[in-house]
Symmetry: C2
Subunit: 359 residues, 2 copies
Amino acid sequence: MNLPQGFLLSGIHCGIKRRKPDLGLIYLKDFSQAVGFFTSNANPSYSVTVSKNNINNPIKAVLVNSGNANCFSHNKGLKDSEEIITRLAKQLKVNKKNILFASTGVIGKTLPKNKIIKSLGHLLNNLGSDVYSFASSIMTTDTAKKISLREVGPVKILGFAKGAGMICPNMATMLGFVLTDAKLERSFLKQCAKEAVEESFNSISIDGCTSTNDTVFILSSAKVALKKNQLNAFKKGLKEVCLELAKLIVKDGEGATKFIELKIKGAKTSQEAKQAGLALANSVLFKCAIYGEDANCGRIISALGQAGIKVGEDIYIKATSLKKREIVITVDLKRGKASWDFYTSDLTPQYVNLNAKYS
Amino acid sequence: MNLPQGFLLSGIHCGIKRRKPDLGLIYLKDFSQAVGFFTSNANPSYSVTVSKNNINNPIKAVLVNSGNANCFSHNKGLKDSEEIITRLAKQLKVNKKNILFASTGVIGKTLPKNKIIKSLGHLLNNLGSDVYSFASSIMTTDTAKKISLREVGPVKILGFAKGAGMICPNMATMLGFVLTDAKLERSFLKQCAKEAVEESFNSISIDGCTSTNDTVFILSSAKVALKKNQLNAFKKGLKEVCLELAKLIVKDGEGATKFIELKIKGAKTSQEAKQAGLALANSVLFKCAIYGEDANCGRIISALGQAGIKVGEDIYIKATSLKKREIVITVDLKRGKASWDFYTSDLTPQYVNLNAKYS
């Protein structure tokens, strides 16, 4: 797989986990433009705090670790994080402000700073075009690498994600990285990124739990120009990459036996349609019914009502066969003309068992 | 068990369920004052709509059915409900405005109106002081009758509840009825009722799903006067009855193996403390951890953050033994001086299995 121009990748084992790759790097030959989306959780990880500060600067590299959330580890966490990216910046001969950082793993454990710092040389020596090493290095309980690629004219859009929906104890994170070589106006890139993330990563829920670490970066190396008439295709391609990654996350939800596409129609606004999708996706009872392959419209009515969405007896609900692994449920609220697609999985005894035991 | 003065009860089988009692009546020898609390669900049952209209009138009787939610059954539901209470009112020689109505059971099925109307005579003939018949008639998947009694000086406070936390498919309702013979200023009764409900029925969550039918009535026959210095004891007694009933509901949560008391301290306001309790009670991951008897503070931090409550590394979390059936978890947010107690249960594979199959 060819990388978008201007990028190199690396993924190694540094010792946060026992054996598996746990440290990744996205490297820009020159600086890149970056757009970032961060968790709304009021107790964010130190990595999120660092990246929020730096996201508007030209970006030289993105450091990612898995196996430790770098969150809530007794005061020193932010200082340690600053030290790690300062060391990386020094080796790359840039300022620490040009580095982004993302983490996923256990909350409340001190990040093994020295292991990471000692491994930075190895991480840089390993830079190349191997997408799989990087994709592996960001995994926690994911059962498969999550990669998506689109080509738009001469431009490439390459995306990576990790996440299985807060399914493993404390490893409660969704990370996404989308790399492109398209040369774009910053305002256009921002707008495309915002829409793509809203319709993909912000339209999925496995268990309604918002992690402390959720992060999506859209990075552009600005190496390849696009014609004006290719801009819409780029926008579409970026949405497709983000949506494919988001669906991969839902499909990998631990314990999940069903992938559910909720097509909400007839809402007053698209925001209302999205809210309706979220209400269903977060209803424990609705998700149990899908697991049991039980067509249960009362639970849809009740979940919508809990979200403040009043529907009439003319509401239209239709589902494809509940026996299949992938299910499409169409709900026409008959309140207006707006629509939204939302994605979720079922709730299963396996999910509970997997999340019951951590120690 | 002696009833509070001025009340009679009845509970019979009318044919909504196959065999079990399914129709109950609370009867006032004279009229009573009533205070009502209703679901915030935007798609409420027809019974809720009827009772909301009548709650400020003098009340002669409360009709309750179980086995059918009387909700979302194709347009005729409200008309049918009006007809039922009109017939009951006629037999009691009062106006239909003096009747309250509560239902619990399956959403989306037409209430068998004629079965109920035909049984009204039998229901009235059965009026007496048998608390158990009435307590049985309001049960759905409850495994035990939920009754609580306090005496305050010469006054009695007798409460009934049903609910096991939306645990059975579509039988997603919490009902509460508290009867007292205390003669009180309406404004004082209202204030007492509001506080008692807020600290009990509004401080529990099994699965985060708000039913279309939730209803609590506090009814006073105003037969027995209290001295001024007994008013606080009445308030306390009412709170105790409501809290005992609310705890019985949580303990009866189907599939639940743990009863969890969340003592939230150190919040900026009591509202914030309650919000923190609710955030934990509704966190699927937190509840899985308790099921697994796994002390997992990261999940508490994450759930609080999701609710917008930022905490510092000095947060204090302490739990009694997770191995026991009843667990007290104290969380001091260190943000202020307000506190709130919240009650919930664990999430278990049994819960999922019980709610997966309905048909």
